[in-house]
Each structure stands twice: as structure tokens, then as C-alpha cells.
């Protein structure tokens, strides 16, 4: 096994040419998604021989990723050895102009190699059993509230609003939503009965689902997620809402196209590795690989959609 890996590594090294020590910026403190992305991708890139020195991870917390974004754009625009962890949160904040005027076209999105499917869950003893039940309760004017790990207007909140819009609810702004400190906190509030439902990512609910303390009303993917086949999708319940929190990377704008494509290939190699597949399974991520120009145009689409919805509900003017 080891010799095979080394052989593989040598092959990659030869094909990729000499590579420098790369740096990955996690635009947040240690812990949490971006830090995880940098550390895992960095570790695997080295393990499978895509880089010949360990990737150095730098934590640059500030402005919900805005500080790192500004620093990449202004100070390191042509650094070909720099990668930055990104996710749907990056796209949402860019769409909502939360990075102080910075725009998505100031960097290049390399690719995503995994996604955390959006979910809507309620406590196990809740009388609600489907998305229809939930939306009808809102329409009937029942006291329905949601907890999620993002601030109001953030991605977790938008998931609820997208579903409500699909359900034909006109006054989506009056749906109660509290933003708490992360998905686990949101689920605690829901099990405790303080809120009706929790909106978040699949990875956040895995343990609670297994222990039977919550039931998932819907997963927001095109098809059911492997390993969670008994959770129905929103689509099959008649709500055309797809929302996944992708995990990926962006790089500075000013690097050469060759270098950009090289990073895309490296990332694709990580996505193929057994190590990454294991990490995804352990963390509730679903396979979701898009790299290069393909990914860039997909992100542009996501940002445009988010911007439209945000404008509609008044997060941005």
C-alpha cells in the first residue's frame, strides 16, 4: 500500500513539476468548517503527494471571512501558492455585500469537493411529520419558530424562507427565526422545545438522528443522501428547494490560468482519495465535486440567486 502511494506520489510530482510549499488560509479561528477544510485538504494534498511540503495552515479570523478576503485581494493577488477555504457562507456573504464592497470576481473559485446537505428537523415528539405539516402550521398561524446556526438572513435562515416561498407563503418575513451559536446549539433548543424546528446541515444532526432525539422532515438535495435513505428530499415532497453547504477553495485572481487549472486537478485528486472519502463519511458530508471553470460558473449562479432572494426579503437594499 505504502509503496503504491509513494509510486503514485512520484508520478504526480513528475507530472505536476516542482511544487512549492503551499499555504492555506482558514478565514476563521481553529474549529469549525473552514479550519476543517484547510486542515483536511492540506493534510491529504501532502499525503497523496500533490505537494511536496506540508501545507501550512494560517487562521485569519475576522469579518466572517471578510478580513481574509480583503487581504488576499489587496496583498497577495498573484500568489500562486495560496489557497483559501471557502463554503456556501462565503458565497452568501458575497451576495449580501457583507465583505465591505468586495465582489466575487476579485478571486477565482477553484472547486468544491464535498457538500453538507441542508436539512429541516423537528424534535422526535413533535406532531409535525412532513414538510406539508410544517408549512400548513405556518399558514394556519400557529406559533412556529426556527433555530439555526447562522444570523438572520444567513444561509440556514434562507433555507426556511426558500421552502416557505415554495409553499406559497406570502409574508415570509414574519416567520420567527433565531440565530444561535452553531448547529448543535440550534438542535438543543429544538429538542428542548423552545423552537419548533431546526434548520442546518446534515453533519450537525447525524448524532441526534441516530439517537432518535430528532426527526428530519426533509433534506435539501436533488436525491436522497447515501446513508440517510429514509430522510425524504424536499423535492419529492413537492418543494423545489435545493440547498447544500459546499466546502471548497478559492485562489487569488492574479495567478496564471495554468496554475489555476493545476489547483483544480490537485483538488480533484483529493476528492478521489480514500482518505477524503473517509473524512466525508465521518463528518456527514455528501460527495459533491465540481472543479475549474465549471465550478466558477456554478458559484456565480448561486451568488446571483442568493442576491435575488436576499433583496426580496430585505437583507440587502
Amino acid at each position: 500500500m505504502k509503496t503504491r502511494l509513494t509510486g503514485l506520489a512520484t508520478a504526480f510530482l513528475l507530472s505536476a513539476g516542482a511544487v512549492q510549499a503551499a499555504e492555506c488560509i482558514a478565514p476563521a479561528n481553529p474549529g469549525g468548517g473552514w479550519d476543517f477544510t484547510c486542515r483536511q485538504i492540506g493534510k491529504i494534498l501532502y499525503d497523496i503527494g500533490q505537494v511536496d511540503k506540508p501545507v501550512q495552515v494560517t487562521n485569519m479570523a475576522g469579518g466572517g471571512g471578510g478580513l481574509a478576503f480583503a487581504s488576499v485581494v489587496n496583498e497577495r493577488n498573484d500568489d500562486g501558492d495560496l489557497i483559501v477555504a471557502a463554503s456556501q457562507a462565503t458565497a452568501t456573504r458575497l451576495a449580501q455585500n457583507a465583505y465591505g464592497g468586495a465582489t466575487a470576481d476579485q478571486v477565482r473559485f477553484v472547486g468544491a469537493i464535498g457538500a453538507d446537505p441542508g436539512v429541516i428537523v423537528v424534535a422526535a415528539d413533535s406532531p409535525l411529520n412532513s414538510l406539508d405539516d410544517l408549512m400548513n402550521a405556518i399558514k394556519a398561524g400557529d406559533d412556529v419558530s426556527f433555530a439555526g446556526g447562522s444570523a438572520a438572513g444567513g444561509f440556514d435562515h434562507l433555507k426556511v424562507l426558500m421552502l416557505a416561498k415554495e409553499a406559497g407563503i406570502s409574508d415570509i418575513r414574519s416567520i420567527k427565526y433565531i440565530g444561535v451559536d452553531g448547529g448543535a446549539d440550534a438542535i438543543t433548543q429544538t429538542i428542548g422545545g423552545f423552537t419548533t424546528g431546526m434548520t442546518g446541515d446534515m453533519s450537525e444532526i447525524v448524532g441526534f438522528l441516530k439517537s432518535g432525539e430528532v426527526k428530519a422532515l426533509a433534506v435539501l438535495t436533488e436525491e436522497r443522501v447515501p446513508g440517510f435513505e429514509d430522510v425524504p428530499t424536499a423535492v419529492e415532497q413537492g418543494y423545489k428547494t435545493v440547498a447544500v453547504n459546499w466546502r471548497g477553495l478559492y485562489v487569488p485572481k492574479g495567478i496564471s490560468d495554468d496554475r489555476f487549472n493545476e489547483w483544480g486537478q490537485k483538488l480533484a485528486a483529493v476528492a478521489e482519495s480514500a482518505e477524503w472519502k473517509e473524512a466525508m463519511a465521518a463528518n456527514g458530508l455528501a460527495p459533491f465535486t465540481k472543479v475549474g471553470g465549471d465550478f466558477q460558473s456554478w458559484v456565480d449562479g448561486v451568488i446571483a440567486d442568493t442576491e435575488e432572494l436576499s433583496r426580496e426579503i430585505g437583507v440587502i437594499q
Binding site: T58, A152, G153, R173, S174, I175, Y177, I313, G314
Partner: protein, 148 residues
Amino acid sequence: MLRSDRVFGLVVILAALAYIASALQLQTSFLSDPMGSKSFPIGLGAVAVLCGIVMIFKPEDEAEWPAPVAILKIFISVVVMVAYAYALKPLGFLIPTTLAAGILSYLITPRLTFNVMVGIGLAIGLYLLFRYALGLETLQAIPKGWGG
């Protein structure tokens, strides 16, 4: 009678009013949020104003302010700290630390040879501690591009 507490009480009131004014500028929330972003800060500002008023009307005994020489020393040390804050990144760790630690040492007990040794010793010792024992990678010994 003019006492430090009265002056301070006035400063507190002015600062609190400025804080309230800036809270009033905050955008109102767009969703169901009965309290909004403003209420809590405005409440805090109001409490601070009350505290300021109490300080003005019920001042305590006058504080002991230092002699002019001590004030000068404190002023110099603050200037050194500010300069150090700006210098640490562009000039690397060793040079600013030697200077700042040396000057602070001199301000505490002026014994020139010892102060110089303190500056150099701390710069090297702390660099080794943070960089190698604690593995702090962000610390640069000397500026980038000086060949190190």
C-alpha cells in the same frame, strides 16, 4: 469643587450619549425582531449616563495623581508600546523587542548595561520560546527579504 470623579462623570455622560447617538443610527431590522439592534445598546447607554450623574453628585475622595516625572515616564512607555505595535510585523521580532524591552527596563530601574542585556536577552529568549517550544509560526525573527 473640581474633583477627578466629577470630571470623569462628565466624560462618562458624554461618551454614553455618543454611544446612544451611534446606536440610533443603526439600521432597523428587516424581520420579526421586537427588540432590534438598538434597544440593548440604548439601555446600556442610559445606565452609564445614570452612573455618570451619580459620580458627579457623589464624588469620592480625590485620587492620588502621580508627579510630573512619573507622568512623563508613563507617557514614554505608552509611546514605546504603540511604536512596538506598529513595528512588530514590518521589522520582525528581534529588533523592536530589543528596543522596547530595553526602554521599558530603563524606565523601571535605570541601569544601562543591565537594561541593554534585558532587551537583547528577552528578544532572543522569547523568540526561541514562542517559535520553537510553542510552535508559533507567524513570528518572523527579522523582516522578510533580509536573507534569513
